[in-house]
């Protein structure tokens, strides 16, 4: 079930929310938790019920492990349980996610005929595994039982954040579940949650899903071996850079909004990353909860910046490469992660120079490399990525001239024959939309390349000019909700625009669902 699925919006969410409100009036807090847990499991099992087995099994095993850690808190066995738990989690994650990639790699390197195992990756395994590792570590560090079984199960399974994060630390959520006021949401939270959910929905449906075809077309052509012009390639890459931001931040904001509807405040996952003025700044703003996870549970344990210059930079490279691998079992993700590590290292070197660049230059030096790196993230394989870089460099020309010979050909025909040819193009090359939408104001205005350009630039402007909703909707000092007419207008505009577009939109799954 997806957050923008009508079934979710008009059936699942109202039923779960009304049930939650009804339960919260009289019955104990644990019943509210149980109700949300049940709803979360239904949500998770909706598409693939069998996956629930892995989720519940993982919750059960990790909770037992946390009990073992807590019971042996004064003996060295606690650490053994912690390490054992982490290894078990990573083995399961690795088994599902990387065994195929590892087998293929071994077969390629050693020329073996190995058959990669094939099984369906349990949805959100990367997210719930990391969240549980952070719970085990926190239990070990705090030397106490942090949550009761139901609280723990809901902490892992809470449906707004279960599928694609944010990766919540125990301290960010469990105290809220243990609060006496849990189950009694106030109107402020509901209004703010609704507003964030709508803004996220708009980002996903109106922006991300409209950018997707532009990126898909460019990368699809490269995948098929068709040459594309540099203009098309840059447009496609920019579209993807914006698509992935809007797609993922949309999910996060919808998750935040849904959390608030149930009185739970989840951590913010994006802080306008494309406004960053350095790579370091970018990684403080992009997928914040994952960055924090890797920083706290990998970079710092590796030694962080405490063991000298070389170790610091190798730690950055290792951390970012593993972060890349976390996204998927593909060489392209490893290279993407490594490239990000390299950029971070370069950024740290640059800091030594203490040279202050103008705002615009800093922004470009951040945005362009980050965008270029998305090529590895989006390409299906390394060869495709290299081909795409080649197209970006203009090896197939700067602008497409595909249409020109046809126009020249049409000019050479008499009027009736020209019409016949145009008719074929309408029927067989899918020119209908162009003709339908492109009249009067000039075909250019609604023509595909022009529309793509408008969509990409509009989206970029939204990224650069609009404040992030969570900050915008909160008072800066006391953190209370800040409701304005502007927010109300924006939300109602988004709902109306989604309704108008509902027939023609091609809603796609959230990109981060596959991780």
């Amino acid at each position: 079930m997806l957050f923008f699925d009508p079934l979710f919006i008009f059936a699942f969410l109202p039923v779960v929310w009304l049930g939650f409100k009804a339960i919260g009036i009289r019955v104990p807090r644990s019943v509210s938790i149980a109700w949300l847990l049940l709803a979360s499991w239904v949500f998770y099992a909706w598409a693939y019920p069998v996956h629930l087995f892995w989720l519940i099994g993982s919750i059960f095993a990790n909770f037992l492990c946390s009990i073992a850690i807590q019971k042996n808190v004064d003996s060295p066995r606690a650490k053994q349980f912690l390490v054992g738990g982490i290894i078990l989690n990573l083995l399961i994650l690795g088994g599902f996610k990387y065994s195929g990639f590892a087998t293929e790699s071994l077969a390629t390197i050693f020329g073996l005929s190995l058959q990669p195992p094939s099984f369906l990756l349990p949805l959100a395994i990367s997210f719930f595994t990391f969240q549980q590792i952070s719970y085990l570590v926190t239990t070990y560090r705090e030397r106490r039982m942090i949550a009761r079984p139901l609280e723990y199960a809901l902490y892992v399974s809470f449906f707004p954040q279960l599928i694609a994060g944010p990766i919540v630390q125990p301290g960010e959520m469990i105290p809220q579940l243990q609060s006496k006021t849990f189950g009694k949401t106030n109107l402020n939270d509901i209004a703010l949650g609704l507003c964030l959910f709508i803004i996220g929905l708009g980002k996903k449906i109106l922006l991300a899903d409209n950018l997707a075809p532009i990126a898909d077309l460019a990368f699809g052509q490269i995948a098929q071996g068709d040459p594309i012009s540099a203009l098309t390639a840059w447009m496609g890459l920019l579209a993807f850079a914006l698509q992935i931001y809007f797609d993922f931040s949309a999910y996060s904001e919808m998750a935040l909004g849904l959390g608030l509807l149930f009185g739970i405040q989840l951590p913010e996952n994006f802080a306008s990353p494309y406004r960053a003025l350095s790579i370091i700044d970018f990684w403080r703003r992009w997928h914040i909860t994952l960055s924090s996870f890797f920083k706290n549970y990998l970079y710092i344990p590796l030694g962080g910046n405490r063991l000298g210059f070389l170790r610091r930079h190798s730690n950055i490279l290792i951390t970012m490469t593993i972060a890349g691998l976390w996204h998927g079992a593909n060489l392209t993700f490893i290279i993407w992660g490594f490239a990000q590590g390299l950029l971070l290292s370069i950024n740290h070197f640059w800091r030594f120079s203490r040279v202050q660049l103008p705002f615009e230059v800093s922004w470009l030096l951040t945005f362009v490399p980050v965008t270029l790196c998305w090529t590895f993230f989006r390409a299906e394989n390394l060869n495709e990525a290299l081909q795409y870089f080649s197209a970006l460099a203009g090896t197939h020309g700067w602008a497409s001239t595909d249409g020109l010979p046809f126009i020249e050909y049409l000019r050479s025909l008499d009027q009736t024959e020209a019409w016949k040819q145009v008719h074929y193009s309408i029927h067989y090359h899918g020119w209908y939309p162009k003709l339908i939408t492109g009249i009067h104001i000039g075909e250019l205005v609604f023509s595909k390349p022009f529309l793509s350009f408008i969509q990409v630039t509009t989206s970029l402007l939204v990224v650069l000019l609009f404040p992030r909703p969570f900050v915008w909707m909160r008072q800066p000092i006391n953190g209370n909700a800040r409701f304005t007419k502007k927010a109300a207008f924006l939300c109602s505009f988004i709902i109306t625009a989604i309704l108008i577009q509902s027939g023609t939109l091609q809603a796609t799954q959230f990109i981060y669902f596959r991780f």
Binding site: Y432, I436, F446, F483, F489, S492, F493, I500, G503
Partner: protein, 354 residues
């Protein structure tokens, strides 16, 4: 602002935006739009033909393979019925096609439905049809049930709505009307008549238009084959008959029965080509599904798909459009089967039907 006030503002502004959208939608309906006003003019010309016929009539309706696939003059001379070819485009919704017949058919008429195979399986409005009908048949929208209205709106392009609104304002200023040159219905009929009499001197404005149909509503074409495509004619899939088609055809058949109008189903002309294999289990099953469906409505098919296979050289400009000669042969193949069916189902003499 308090949360409750915020929610009130949210509701009020949503209502305002919705009202604006409804207003824009209403404003855009019926706006001529190049080159689609040519389709509007084809319809005007066909309606004129339909209004002009007298006596027992055979109404042909389907997709463009019907528009291109018949020699109605021949059909008329061999059956004694008047013939009007109302067919237009495969994407037109089935209820629209049937409504076109309902406008003109009268007791003792005959309807032949060589529906494109895809029309049996379609459970949506095509974007093309939704956009087109909003331009030149806005009444179609208003006549739909609420459920169908919602479905129709789902397939209407919002860009088209904006473009239509531009056209509306342009029409007010006059410039767009000049640019679009949508003809008044009277002018369309006058030009069409002049064309049928060989007196029309003006330009033929586009490829498919009211000046490329003859006085029966058939497409006027040559034997010149412009383009020949390969196609499986939607017989090789496994899709079930759509509820939409089931509902529409059932309603139409009920209407024809209550008006003493006979309906015959027919197969479209299909070219032998590598994508089509009528012996393939999928094709056999699909044909069987279509037949079972029409059998359930007590509708007879005229002949079998094999009877209407043509050679790829018989195609005019698409895999569904026949050349003039092939259209004549297609009609000749159908005539004996049709005459037999007419005789089996009632009076075969149209003049005695009056």
């Amino acid at each position: 602002m308090s949360a409750s006030k915020f929610l009130k503002w949210l509701s009020c502004s949503f209502a305002t935006f919705s009202a604006i959208v409804v207003a824009l939608f209403c404003l855009h309906l019926g706006q001529p739009w190049w080159p689609h006003h040519h389709n509007r003019e084809v319809r005007i010309a066909k309606h004129h033909i339909a209004e002009s016929v007298e006596g027992p009539t055979i109404w042909l309706q389907g997709g463009s393979s019907t528009w291109f696939g018949f020699d109605s003059e021949l059909l008329s001379s061999r059956t004694g019925y008047q013939v009007v070819n109302l067919a237009f485009n495969v994407t037109m919704p089935s209820e629209f096609c049937f409504d076109e017949i309902k406008r003109f058919a009268k007791p003792n008429d005959i309807v032949i439905l060589p529906l494109e195979n895809s029309m049996y399986f379609r459970d949506y409005y095509s974007n093309y049809a939704a956009n087109e009908l909003a331009i030149w048949a806005p009444d179609f929208f208003w006549d739909l049930t609420w459920k169908r209205k919602a479905m129709y709106l789902k397939y209407l392009s919002w860009r088209k709505v904006i473009a239509g609104v531009f056209a509306r304002f342009g029409q007010i200023t006059g410039s767009f009307k000049n640019q679009l040159k949508p003809l008044e219905p009277g002018q369309v009929v006058a030009n069409a008549k002049a064309h049928w009499n060989g007196d029309y001197q003006g330009d033929v404005p586009a490829y498919y238009n009211y000046l490329t149909i003859n006085r029966y509503g058939d497409f006027e074409h040559s034997n010149h084959a412009l383009w020949r495509g390969l196609h499986d004619y939607n017989l090789m899939g496994t899709r079930p008959i759509s509820e939409m088609t089931r509902e529409d055809l059932t309603q139409f058949v009920n209407w024809t029965r209550s008006n003493n109008i006979r309906v015959f189903m027919s197969w479209i002309p299909m070219a032998r080509n590598e994508k089509l294999n009528l012996d393939h289990p999928n094709a056999v099953a699909t044909i069987s599904r279509i037949r079972s469906f029409t059998d359930s409505l007590n509708l007879n098919f005229l002949g079998n798909p094999e009877d209407f296979l043509v050679e790829i050289e018989d195609l005019y400009d698409t895999s569904h459009h026949l050349t003039a000669e092939a259209a004549r042969r297609h009609t000749e193949t159908l005539i004996p089967i049709l005459n037999k069916a007419i005789a089996n189902t009632g009076d075969s003499n149209p003049s005695s039907s009056n």
